[in-house]
Structure formats: structure tokens, C-alpha cells
């Protein structure tokens, strides 16, 4: 039976939600698994993160090194490749760090790689069955992963609900085993995202537009609706990439996290990166011309219409 490891993401000494999610995922791979948490970092924040991990995992491996103070994917990969035994299954959150570090780790460990897993059906022999999504969530697939030589798996945040179970694990200091951590990529600093003139995180009602708005000129249609509703305009990422609205209006994992009462998703397909920015269970209204758009699976109310016709008609009816 392959040993299972979980990479623990933490910030300011506190483990992230993914720590509990990976513990649940490990059990789905093998109910009898005794997964080991790996926590990398430096100094006192690392120690408190290890304490947090020990509440979820029976074994915690601590890797303390000044070069690991910031999670630079290049450095963390080097350390993990050194300490993880061949043939192991390594679980990593599918976030911007996991995307950076994990694919290369699978090569260094000569292990299979499967990314952005949303479900796990368990091992049969060395074959692990998992669920993924393709085509921006429009298709689901079962994949089989040959774990005979180990596997590196990244798991979509939020896909594995913590089961509330706890542990009182012991921390083992593995810092001496990490070897040389020199890397050809050096972390310099984090530049915080600019704050814009509106704060979409404070709005009760958001009229949010996606690529379905089709053209810069059509943004005004959403602005008119928002005005009529007393709402604020937000958007999905492609609208910001196209420079039709400023970055501070973007909802999602690489944008803002919003907690409105009502969220009007207009021409938004419903990618997990977008939905990752929606918190507090708002009432979601989705208008999309494609009846199969994934957004309809998470919305409360769905309407199949062309937003370029629907929004002006709604504005007029409300009396904008």
C-alpha cells in the first residue's frame, strides 16, 4: 500500500482549509490510510502551522529552512523530491502554488500526475479512479491513474468537505533531509492587487457580466441594469483581460471574494475559479443562452436568454 502524503498550505501560522480537505481525500483513496502531512516553512509560523496540521494528521513532517520561508514552488519541489519516498501518493491543493510546483514534482519522483481532481473513487490494486472536469466544466470524466510508481495529485479546493475528524499527531523534524535548496528562481516580493474606485465586496446586489457581453460597448447595458436595481457591476476574468472593466471588479480566485445577497450572473459560464470568489450563499440568478452552461448547476434561478436582449428588457420593466 502506497504511503500517502499531504502538502499543507498555511499562512501566518494558520493552516488553510485545504489541509482538512486533503485529509478527507486521503481516506477516499484508502479508508485505512494513515496520511502524513508535510509542512514546509521557517521559524515560529512554521511551528504553529505544524501544530495546526497535527490536529488533522497523525504524522506531521516539518521542514524548516530559511529558503522555505516563502513557498517558492522551485524550492519546495526540490525539498519534496528529496524526502518523499518513491512510490508514494502526494496530495497537493490545486491552487496557484500547486499548479506551479506539482507537475514538475511528478517528473522528479517519476510518479503519475493527475491535476484538478474533484472526486475520488478509491484504489483497486494500484489503479486509482478519480473524477475530473474538462472543457471549462462542460464535461466530466473518470480517469484511471496507475499509481504503481507513485502519483502526484492536485485536488480542487472545496471539492472534499472536511468531515470534522481530528487527530493529535506528532511532529517529526525532517529539516536535515532536505538537502541543497539552491534554485534558479528567486522570490522577490508580493505586489498587492490595486484597489479600484468601487468596492464590489461591500455590495448587496451585483450585476456580474461575463464573456457573453460580447463587446466593450455592451458594458453600458449592464451598468444601466445595475443602476435601475441599485446594484454594482462586477465581472468575470475575460472582461478584465480585455480591459473592458478594471481588475477591482473581477470576482473569483484571482480577483475579489464577494458576499452579496443577490448575484446576477449574466453570460458567465460558471468556472470554478469564478465561483471560488462567491461566498456566503447568495441568491444566484443566471442568464445564459446555453441551457447546458455549468452555471445553471449552482444557480438558484436560471433563464435561457440572450443577455443583450434580456438585460435591457429587465431594466425597462424595473423602470430604469
Amino acid at each position: 500500500m502506497a504511503q500517502i502524503f499531504a502538502y499543507i498550505a498555511h499562512k501566518n501560522g494558520v493552516v488553510e482549509d485545504s489541509a482538512a480537505e486533503l485529509a478527507v481525500a486521503a481516506k477516499k483513496i484508502d479508508a485505512a490510510a494513515q496520511p502524513t502531512a508535510i509542512v514546509t516553512g521557517s521559524g515560529s509560523t512554521l511551528d504553529s502551522a505544524c501544530q495546526g496540521a497535527a490536529k488533522l494528521y497523525a504524522q506531521v513532517w516539518k521542514l524548516d529552512n530559511a529558503a522555505l520561508a516563502y513557498p517558492n514552488g522551485e524550492v519546495v519541489r526540490k525539498a519534496l523530491a528529496k524526502i518523499v519516498p518513491a512510490g508514494s501518493i502526494v496530495l497537493i491543493p490545486h491552487d496557484t502554488f500547486g499548479m506551479d510546483m506539482a507537475p514538475g514534482l511528478s517528473i522528479k519522483l517519476d510518479a503519475a500526475y493527475a491535476a484538478d481532481i474533484v472526486g475520488l473513487d478509491g484504489l483497486s490494486g494500484a489503479t486509482l479512479k478519480a473524477v475530473r472536469q474538462e472543457f471549462a466544466g462542460m464535461a466530466h470524466t473518470h480517469v484511471t491513474i496507475d499509481t504503481a510508481k507513485g502519483a502526484v495529485l492536485t485536488l480542487r479546493p472545496g471539492s472534499f468537505q472536511p468531515d470534522g475528524s481530528s487527530a493529535s499527531g506528532s511532529v517529526t523534524d525532517k529539516s536535515g533531509d532536505a538537502g541543497d535548496l539552491g534554485a534558479k528562481r528567486r522570490f522577490l516580493q508580493v505586489v498587492e492587487a490595486e484597489t479600484g474606485d468601487v468596492d464590489i465586496t461591500k455590495a448587496d446586489v451585483l450585476v456580474s457580466v461575463g464573456r457573453g457581453i460580447e463587446d466593450a460597448e455592451n458594458i453600458s447595458i449592464a451598468q444601466e441594469l445595475a443602476e435601475a436595481m441599485g446594484a454594482v457591476v462586477s465581472c468575470s476574468r475575460p472582461i478584465v483581460d480585455a480591459k473592458w472593466l478594471e481588475k477591482s471588479r473581477q470576482v473569483g480566485t484571482s480577483g475579489k471574494t464577494v458576499k452579496p445577497k443577490v448575484y446576477m450572473a449574466m453570460g458567465i459560464s460558471g468556472s470554478f475559479q469564478h465561483l471560488g470568489g462567491l461566498k456566503g450563499s447568495p441568491f444566484i440568478v443566471a442568464v445564459n443562452k446555453n441551457p447546458k452552461a455549468p452555471i445553471f448547476q449552482v444557480a438558484d434561478v436560471g433563464i435561457v436568454e440572450n443577455i443583450l436582449e434580456f438585460m435591457p428588457a429587465l431594466t425597462e420593466k424595473i423602470g430604469g
Binding site: T96, F97, A102, Y113, F135, L188, K261, Q297, V304, L314
Partner: protein, 262 residues
């Protein structure tokens, strides 16, 4: 600077409704509109801008079948200098590792300073760039949204959670995966495509690349797609039916009840 951009031909999700075949083995591919992976357009644009600043050449490469040639031409119409098609029956059914090994073999035949990939493609795996870098033993950075050239080094920004930017220094040669929004990819018109329509695009197979049969392709894949399926979802949305008028009336009622309208 010699820059290689890896590009993938993918079904355009904005143009297509993706439907699963009755037996679940695949999606319906017959009537799909294909295009260049969105992220790869940003990568190509970035490569062209770097070349225009510091000189050198931009090569675009894809692992695919003969139909994938069209996306190479499209990127050449954008301004890439050269295209290379990597095609062989032996490549079919490769997993991400297989694709990365094929690309690595081509890279070792050339002399590149910088390899750009998209951050992710239609499978959403975001795997090929990182694997490629590890295979080459070159440094890697993903989700890059800013590149500044500084001699034998680059100063790069990585987009991280919350839209914050993680600044790094990285040595050349290196592999970078490019995030959308780094630039504004130029528009390609019919005339541009016509200009490169007759340019010869070399095609390399397993033999040319010295890739052993069985080391890539379906046989070597450790990750295999078992089937496509439609998941059993929660309750899903309450779909409003009727004329547009009727839908609007019903919606206004609901919005009033939920605090979306005063």
C-alpha cells in the same frame, strides 16, 4: 532571444456546446469549432513582443495531427517566424507527460533561451509546462503575467490568489507558463493568414526526434480517461420558462423576495 511557444489546438468552448457521446467514450467532436487554446495566444503575443524588443526569433510548435497545422499558421500570421508540427501515430493517446516528453525531444534539437506555454488548456490540467521544465532541468514559473528582460535573467510576475502578483527573478534558459491578461493578443485577419498559407511547415515524427516507440502514446500513459459522464448534480437552478415578458415578471417577483429589488 530564441523563443519557442507551445500551442495546442482545442475545441472552442465559447463556440461549442459540448455533448457527450451516447457510449461515454468521448465528446461529440464532429461539428466542433477548433481554435488555438486561449492562453497560448497570450504566450505567442508575449514572445513576439519580446522578439521585437531584443531581437531573435519566435518558433511555434504543437503536438497534434495534420489538422493542427492551421493553428501554427494562425500564430505565424500573428508574427511568429516559424512553425513546427510534431505528428506521429505513436503520439496518439499521450498523457501530459507524453506530450511534455515529445516537446522536450524537439527542444533539445534546437537552441532555445526561453520556452513559453499557456497556463492551461482545455483539459484544465496546467501540467505540460511544469513537466517540461523538470524534464529539461530548467527553472519554471507558472501563471506569469509580467516579463522584464534583464540580461541573462528575467524579472517575472506570477499571478497568485486574490490577483496579487508574486515577483521573481529567474535565470535563462527557463520555461514560463503564461496567464491571460499579460498583454492584448493582436487580431489576425484573413489577409494575414493568406500571407503564410504556403509557408512550409516541417513535421517531425518519433523517428526524427529519437523517441522510442512505446515511451509515449497510449501505451505509456499512466493516466487514462475511462469515460465521459453527466454527473448527478444537486437540485440545480429553477429554470424560468415562458416568454421573455413572463420570465422577467417572475424574476422581478423573486428579486423582490430576496432583497435584490426594493
Amino acid at each position: 532571444m530564441e523563443i519557442l511557444v507551445c500551442v495546442k489546438r482545442v475545441p472552442d468552448t465559447a463556440e461549442n456546446e459540448i455533448t457527450i457521446k451516447g457510449d461515454g467514450t468521448d465528446i461529440q467532436r464532429d461539428d466542433l469549432v477548433y481554435s488555438v487554446n486561449e492562453w497560448d495566444n497570450y504566450a505567442t503575443e508575449e514572445a513576439i513582443q519580446i522578439r521585437d524588443k531584443v531581437g531573435g526569433a519566435v518558433t511555434v510548435v504543437t503536438v497534434g495531427d495534420s489538422e493542427a497545422e492551421e493553428i501554427l499558421r494562425r500564430q505565424m500570421a500573428m508574427g511568429a517566424d516559424k512553425g513546427i508540427l510534431l505528428a506521429d501515430d505513436a503520439f496518439e493517446g499521450s498523457d501530459g507527460r507524453g506530450i511534455a516528453s515529445i516537446l522536450k525531444a524537439e527542444i533539445l534539437k534546437g537552441k532555445y533561451d526561453l520556452i513559453l506555454t499557456g497556463a492551461q488548456a482545455d483539459d484544465g490540467a496546467a501540467q505540460v509546462g511544469g513537466m517540461l521544465a523538470a524534464m529539461l532541468d530548467w527553472p519554471y514559473a507558472s501563471l506569469v503575467n509580467k516579463i522584464e528582460i534583464d540580461g541573462k535573467k528575467l524579472k517575472i510576475g506570477r499571478e497568485i490568489e486574490g490577483g496579487n502578483q508574486e515577483m521573481n527573478e529567474i535565470e535563462l534558459p527557463c520555461v514560463l507558463s503564461i496567464q491571460t491578461g499579460i498583454n492584448e493578443p493582436r487580431y489576425v485577419g484573413i489577409r494575414g493568414i493568406r500571407k503564410v498559407a504556403s509557408v512550409e511547415i516541417p513535421s517531425h515524427g518519433a523517428g526524427d526526434l529519437g523517441i522510442a516507440a512505446g515511451s509515449v502514446g497510449a501505451a505509456a500513459a499512466r493516466v487514462k480517461r475511462a469515460d465521459y459522464f453527466t454527473p448527478v448534480m444537486g437540485k440545480g437552478a429553477e429554470m424560468l420558462e415562458g416568454s421573455m415578458e413572463e420570465k422577467i415578471d417572475k424574476l422581478i417577483e423573486l428579486l423582490k423576495a430576496k432583497g435584490g429589488l426594493k
